[in-house]
């Protein structure tokens, strides 16, 4: 009968680096779930992250218009999706609206440009925001939207366009901040 000699040091104690010479086959030699108490996730399988990238921009300059058709503002940001079916989450918030030369009903619209091909309207952000004397509220933008229709991996520009029905409409005054955040989510 052949005998195998097993060193007692191999049965207990600390495994040294020397004893780990070579490599461990992680494809088949690891089982079980590392609990959260030991720094693991507690998950039995891996789920890839859904947020692929985030872009952001802020603006504090004054923005105003007397145009009765939609015209571009400086409020924009760009994102280049990694997949055509990614969702683009859009947040645009802030600003301090006002008016001049008389009552003005300001409107804001989100425009989109894909691959530098020219801007077109994507969604109305708010319509006919009344600004007039007698206690108006200097309202701000509060808009969010999920763009699922871009179908591209080219650069996408999102830009805020504004117009007024009369006089002058101010989208932003007094160095208030307008922020825009674009987030690409995996489909």
């Amino acid at each position: 009968m052949a005998l195998t000699v097993v060193k007692t040091s191999a049965l207990s104690g600390t495994i040294t680096n020397a004893q780990l010479a070579g490599s461990i086959d992680l494809t088949s030699k690891v089982t079980g779930t590392l609990p959260t108490g030991n720094g693991g996730t507690g998950a039995t399988s891996f789920s890839p992250g859904k947020v692929l990238q985030v872009q952001s921009n802020t603006f504090t300059a004054g923005i105003s218009t007397s145009d009765t058709s939609y015209a571009a503002t400086a409020v924009f940001d760009q994102i280049t999706p990694s997949a055509t079916d990614s969702k683009i989450l859009i947040w645009i918030d802030g600003g301090r609206a006002s008016y001049g030369s008389g009552t003005a009903e300001g409107s804001s619209s989100l425009y989109r440009q894909i691959g530098g091909g020219g801007f077109s309207a994507l969604r109305n952000m708010h319509l006919d925001q009344v600004n007039e004397s007698g206690g108006y509220g200097k309202p701000s933008l509060a808009f969010n939207y999920i763009d699922t229709s871009h179908n591209t991996t080219s650069a996408i520009d999102y830009k805020v366009y504004i117009k007024t029905n009369a006089n002058t409409y101010h989208l932003n005054t007094a160095t208030s901040q307008i922020g825009i955040i674009l987030m690409e989510m995996a489909a």
Binding site: G62, A71, A72, S120, T168, T173
Partner: protein, 72 residues
């Protein structure tokens, strides 16, 4: 009256109901040439302005605008 209010007041003195969009203050000739989108028409969709940074209004110049703004 702040700077942007002076701009709009002076602008309408030179030409009433002129349509444009302003991003930032208009304090210098450089601002005048770069921060204003002047409306020249409407796109076929009927709601988007056709704009240019080149001032199409002969009644309005930076010098005239600055003169009016300084009076305010």
């Amino acid at each position: 009256m702040n700077n942007i209010e002076k701009f709009w007041t002076a602008l309408f003195i030179l030409k009433d109901k002129v349509e444009c969009t302003v991003n930032g203050d208009i304090l210098t000739e450089d601002d005048f040439n770069n921060n204003i989108l002047w409306k020249t028409g409407i796109e076929a969709n009927g709601k988007t302005a056709i704009v240019t940074k080149t001032n199409p209004h002969s009644e309005i110049t930076w010098t005239k605008l600055k003169t009016e703004m300084d009076k305010l």
